[in-house]
Every structure is written in structure tokens, then in C-alpha cells.
């Protein structure tokens, strides 16, 4: 997919024009291919979940309603309303067709409740948390990795590496609850859970509270939203920062040992500037990794949301899990699969901007 193109330097037109043309033409093609590649991923997961939820033994309707004595006619009626009496094949394609039109069906529990509407309502909260968590993990991971590489083979280095390895295996709900105990219950510095104080009124535009409160100039809401996101973002970010520590450390060490760094020294470039150049080279693989990690971030977000009662897709999923609301669970899986595909595409594009060697 991404390939390193070592074409010979041809003098044809101005460099800017050539660069742009390369970037743009190739980019369009690349985006098209990558976008097309998202489809099979989503399809495979949809199929998997469909098989698991619908075809495996166990009647979803019974599972939902429990084993109460419901008259068979009434059961049939419910099945019919949900389309569960049709052949599997028909169900499979019907649902797919609807999803393609943005319709995820209706909830099995609250009849008539559109899942699409629910998801759209919850999505901004999850994205807000995921982005904040990603930023925290990058901040922690990149700075500790940098420090470990510069102080390589010292006590500091060892300490930071152990820190990275241990934080990575922390159980998210535990860390989150301990944070709540310490910072919310004992020290009373921050709120324990939720996304914003209930008595703060905020006019939502995008659904991202932080963004909305800035857009509407609502200082109170901004303060409240920020104070609510600190603990969950710290929890998620801290746990996911370990791999970045390791990656940045090893890449920076590799870069500092490279020939071009030696050549920089030979030409009399300041060490601080050389470190910066090496750092830039070392960060490129980190971007790719951030893309790969996004799936982990989403998984972590589910636990973080549950622990902090954060009203996102994660808590939605867990609520629906409690009720065995199959269509809703199926919808979450599809949305997440789509998410993962899109994010990896975006990351690849950022990668291309950072690394001039990549042309599509």
C-alpha cells in the first residue's frame, strides 16, 4: 500500500508543481483504494456479529423478554415486527441495505427508538474522550520516551521503561476508580463522573461540549466540561501511553545512532538542533502506531466511559448489553469497524505529509 518511491530526479517542471501533482494525483487514487478497503473489513465484522447474534443457538427475543410465559402468538408478532421471521439471508442483506442508507434499525427494547439517532447523540462524547485520551497518551508517551532515549541506559531510562510497561497493564476501571477516590472523594478537586455539571446550561452545536462552550463563549460550561474530562482522559491516556514511550525511545535511539546524525556533527551543527532533527525522524513511525492503536483506544474508551458514567457509545453499548438489545449491539460493532478504517486512512495521510519519502 504505502510504498517508498525512489524515482530518479527528473527535471520537468517546477518542484512545487511537481510535488503537488505527485501528491495530489497519487493521493486521490490512494484515498479511493483505502476507502474501498474499509468495506471488506466492515463486512467481515458485520457477518461475524450477524452469525454470532442471529444464527448461534438461543432466541434473541426470548433472551430479551426472559423466560416469562408469553403466548406463542405474541412472540410471533414480536418476531415479525423485528423481521426475525424472515430467512437469514434476507435478514442479512436487508439490514446491510438499511445500514448503507444510514439506518441502523430500531431498538428491540424501546420499540420504535431509532438506533441511528441514539448513536449520533452519543458519538461526540466518545470522540471527545478518545481524542483527549490520545492527546494525553501522546504527551506522556512522547515525553517519557524522549527523556528515556536521551538519558539512555541510566536509572532514569530504566525507571521510565518500567513505568511504561506497568501503566500499560493497569486495569482501566481500577485506575479510574482510584483516581475518583483520590481526586474526587478525598481531595475534592475534580468531579467524580459525568460529562458536565447538570446545572450548567450549554447550547449544543456540534455535540462536543468543549468546542460548543468555546463557540458560544460559555466560560462556566467550558470550566465544567474541562474539569469533567480530566480524570477520564488521564486514565485512558496513562494506560495507553506505554507503547509510545517504548516506540519513541527506540526510534530516537536509532535515529541518534544513524549516519546522518554523525554527518550533522561533522558539519558543525549544534547538538540541540541535531536532537530536534533526530526527534522528527523518530516521530514518523509513532504516527503510524497511533493509527493502529486507535482500536485499542476505542476498547479502552468503553471501560473508561462505564467507569466515569460518560454518556458515549461505550456506555450505550453496556446499557444495551444489559438488555440484550441485539440490533443496537450490532450497530455499535459496525460503527466501530467503520471508525477504525477511517482513522487508519487519516493517519496514513498524515504520515504522507510528514515523510517526504512516501508518495502514493
Amino acid at each position: 500500500m504505502t510504498r517508498i518511491n525512489t524515482y530518479k530526479y527528473v527535471e520537468c517542471c517546477s518542484d512545487e508543481a511537481r510535488d503537488l501533482r505527485w501528491l495530489f494525483m497519487g493521493l486521490l487514487r490512494y484515498v479511493a483504494i483505502r476507502a474501498a478497503l474499509i468495506i471488506p473489513t466492515v463486512l467481515i465484522l458485520y457477518t461475524l456479529v450477524f452469525i454470532v447474534l442471529r444464527i448461534l443457538p438461543g432466541d434473541p427475543v426470548l433472551a430479551v423478554l426472559g423466560t416469562k410465559n408469553i403466548p406463542p402468538e405474541q412472540l410471533e408478532q414480536i418476531r415479525h415486527n423485528l423481521g426475525l421471521d424472515k430467512p437469514y439471508i434476507v435478514q442479512y442483506f436487508e439490514y446491510l441495505w438499511n445500514v448503507l442508507h444510514g439506518d441502523f434499525g430500531t431498538s428491540m427494547i424501546i420499540s420504535g427508538r431509532s438506533i441511528t439517532v441514539d448513536l449520533l447523540e452519543r458519538l461526540p462524547a466518545t470522540v471527545e474522550l478518545a481524542v483527549a485520551g490520545l492527546l494525553v497518551s501522546l504527551l506522556i508517551g512522547v515525553s517519557t520516551g524522549f527523556l528515556a532515549a536521551v538519558k539512555r541506559d541510566t536509572k532514569v531510562d530504566l525507571g521510565l521503561r518500567v513505568f511504561g510497561a506497568v501503566t500499560y497493564t493497569l486495569f482501566i476501571p481500577w485506575l479510574g476508580l482510584m483516581f475518583q477516590l483520590i481526586f474526587a472523594v478525598w481531595l475534592r478537586w475534580l468531579p467524580a463522573s459525568g460529562r458536565i455539571d447538570p446545572d450548567v446550561s450549554l447550547r449544543t452545536i456540534t455535540g462536543f461540549y468543549i468546542l460548543d462552550s468555546i463557540l458560544t463563549g460559555n466560560i462556566d460550561a467550558l470550566r465544567s466540561a474541562l474539569s469533567h474530562i480530566i480524570l477520564p482522559a488521564l486514565t485512558l491516556g496513562l494506560v495507553l501511553s506505554g507503547p509510545y514511550t517504548r516506540l519513541v525511545r527506540s526510534n530516537l535511539i536509532k535515529a541518534l545512532e544513524s549516519n546522518y546524525v554523525f554527518a550533522y556533527h561533522a558539519r558543525g551543527v549544534r547538538s540541540s538542533k541535531i536532537l530536534l532533527h533526530a526527534f522528527r525522524n523518530a516521530l514518523i513511525p509513532v504516527v503510524t502506531y497511533a493509527g493502529l492503536q486507535f482500536a485499542l483506544l476505542l476498547g479502552g474508551a468503553v471501560l473508561t466511559e462505564t467507569t466515569f458514567d460518560w454518556p458515549g457509545i461505550g456506555t450505550y453499548l453496556v446499557e444495551k448489553v444489559g438488555y440484550r438489545d441485539y440490533p443496537a449491539i450490532q450497530a455499535v460493532v459496525i460503527v466501530f469497524a467503520f471508525f477504525v478504517g477511517v482513522i487508519s486512512l487519516i493517519v496514513d495521510l498524515i504520515y504522507a505529509l510528514l515523510d517526504p519519502r512516501i508518495r502514493y
Partner: protein
Amino acid sequence: MEVLGRTLARILAKIIPLRVSGRGRILVYTGLVIVLAVIFMAIAAPVLTPYDPTRRAGRSFQPPSWEHPFGTNNLGYDMWARIVYGARTILIVVFLAIAISMAIGIPLGLLSGYYGGGIDRALSMVMDAIYAFPSLVLAISLAVALGPSLFNAAIAIAVIYVPTYFRMIRGQVLSVKEELFIEVAKALGIPTFRIIFKHILPHILPTIMVVFSLSAADAVLTEAALSYLGLSVQPPTPDWGYDLYKGKGFVLSGYWWLIFFPGLMITLLAVGFALIGEGLSERVRREQL
């Protein structure tokens, strides 16, 4: 900390001789100590506590004391008893899950890597799709579909590590396949399955060990997550993740022992497996150089 690790390593090296050197060995032995301690807890549970983990042992919400070292919960159950018996639950689920994913992932990876072609492409695609997906969400939907129980939780967890084993084995087979002795074995007309089991598998055993430990660490966290969400064994069976979830309800009351101990155990066990994996991988890395 380091001194302790080194001393333990020296003692353990006498008992379990491992061909891992230096820093790797300290990691492996520290991890082994933790994991073995938890296994010991699970086996010796009745000896370690006089209480039944599913019966009231005293007043509710007692903080840690000599009588109840980890305190009591809202129902007056002894938390220490729940921890030691809970070790059984998580260990069973984790080992069962890993065994299932190995039993599926390793043969599929061997086949895929050895034969290549259409099977390989199809299998790889499915595995990559699963691998790229948030594994916890997948495990949750599987656990929901199968219904909450110990065995079903193991299956749900197993599915998400199948691609890990598949990819690792497939990659290794692809690289080993190129080597001369396999070519020779083929030329000699040795049956395929014998080549795989006699010549390829032994080569990739160290890597399997590493992946086993690392995926066990991850599986501990996944099991805890499922039971935290009420998707593993059902109450009142003691289970660390579920106890942590129950503790969540009492955060605002400040009953820290209901949260601290179950979570600590989950993290410790995961760290133990991870350390073993890290230590072993030092050796594998060196051998592959």
C-alpha cells in the same frame, strides 16, 4: 525492588532452570513469582481463609482489620476470601481462553503459512479484520450472544486472540519455510504434516511462549473487563472484575478497600504475565539476531 528480584531469580533459577540471560531473567522470574503466587492462592484458597466467599462473615463495610484483612463488602462478605477464591475464576477463564485460541489459531496459521494461495488470503483477511477491531467490543458482543457464564466468557475471549496466534505462526512458518532443511525434507518426500510438526513447530516454540505470556496478560484484563460489565460468571461466584464493579457503587462513600484490592489483584496478575513475556522476548530477540 531490583535486589529483591535478583534474589528471587537466583532462588528460582535453582528450581526452574531457564536459558534466559541477564535482565531478561530477572523479568521472567519476577513475573513467575507473581503468577505462581496467584496460582497458589487459587489452589490453597480454603487454607488461606476460614470464610466462605459467598456467606456473610460479619458486619457490612468493615475496613481492613486483623479479622478481615481486606475488609468486608456491602453484604458483609469477607473481601480476602473473595480475592483468594476469585483467583480461581480468573485463572480458569484465562487459561481456558488461551488454550482455545491456540487450538484454533496455531493450526490455521500453520496451514495458511505452509500452503499459501487462496486459503491463506481468505484466512488472512478475516484474521486481519478481527485483529484490527477493538477487541473488547468484539468480546462483549460475543459474550452477550452466548450468554453470561464462565465457559462462554472463555470462548468470547478466545476469539479475539485467535488472530494473534494465527499471524505469529503464519509469519514464522513463512520465514522458516525458506530455510534449507525444510527444502531438504520436502525433497526427501517427508509428509507435510510431519514436516510441520517435527521440523517447523519446534523452531517456533520460543516465539509461541512469548506470545502466550503476552496474550495471557491481555486476557486477564479482558476477563476482568467482561466480568466488570457483568458478562462473565454470575454472582455470587467470587470474581475480581465483578467485585470491582460492585465497589464502584461505593466510591462516593470512600470505601476504598472494595476498589483497591480487587483492582490491584487484576493488575498484578496482568503485570506478572507481561513480565514473563518481556523477559522471554529478550531471549528470542537475541536468538533472531
